[in-house]
Symmetry: C2
Subunit: 139 residues, 2 copies
DNA sequence: CATAATTTGTTTGTGTACTAATAGACTGTG
DNA sequence: CACAGTCTATTAGTACACAAACAAATTATG
């Protein structure tokens, strides 16, 4: 009856996005083998801000409390960021990039741009902008 | 010097895709609380095919060997799929949906379409098609 | 036919992501 | 001031995702 009553997995946004993310992560880890995309995102945001509480950093990088804790733990164990409880609010754990963390960020920031470039390479400039804009609207 | 020498996390495809996937998964689990998107994908594909080996199912749903194993284990422990070694090729584990699995698929297939609809709801019809097509090209 | 290469599935380890429960610290209101 | 509600961080549990190493079965090749 309906022209579209079959469910075609391959055409569902969720499925296609999952595959696109897979490819993106593969490109990322080829170009930036020392870090995951999530770790780089947290480090980049922290370098941009100078410092932030763990919770704040999680919100700004779209990671929930449990996720950001794991990411921060791993970055800290590699001495890319430092942490200290805040005197004026003892609930908060203030984070800052270490010298080593800043160096790591500087080392890879150009590569990170290249990751985005390669991910979008099959599209022309207009299409690239369009894709990012459409994605931003369904967030 | 350059007009774009700062790295803006929020504008990177990877970051935006990650957030879009997060929203999609939230919609999915609100509408289909009994299963994850991945589990539904595997079950749907298996219902479409009738049967498949574990490896085959993994390839068709874009899950690597370790991932598909976990997904299959969980579906099997809930008796949504059955498995049996293939006589003619003893390496292969043939999978098929159980009656219960088929019922589960039928129960949620309309909801799965609704998940895609809600995920794309902020866009008009043309934009929805465009987004999916652009994503397909960067896979 | 024998052996090398490939395919399939399993296991281990690491990392992301979410839920739910908990505890301690802070804030607001009565 | 007290105490209820909120915020921050931690912990435990489940699930996806990938890499690497392995064993068993099959296929290809000399």
């Amino acid at each position: 009856m309906d022209k579209n009553d079959t469910y075609i997995l391959e055409r569902q946004v969720g499925f296609v996005m999952r595959r696109a993310v897979q490819r993106h992560i593969a490109i990322f880890s080829a170009l930036i083998p020392e870090m995951t995309p999530t770790q780089f995102a947290a480090l980049a945001k922290l370098c941009e801000l100078g410092q932030a509480s763990q919770n704040e950093l999680g919100r700004l990088t779209s990671m929930d409390v449990a996720t950001i804790k794991g990411v921060v733990d791993r970055l800290r164990s590699r001495e890319l960021i430092s942490s200290a409880p805040l005197e004026s609010d003892k609930r908060r754990l203030m984070l800052a990039p270490t010298r080593k963390g800043r160096a790591m960020y500087r080392k890879y920031v150009a590569q990170a741009t290249e990751v985005s470039r390669q991910t979008l390479a099959p599209l022309d400039d207009g299409e690239q902008r369009q894709l990012v804009q459409l994605l931003e609207r369904i967030i």
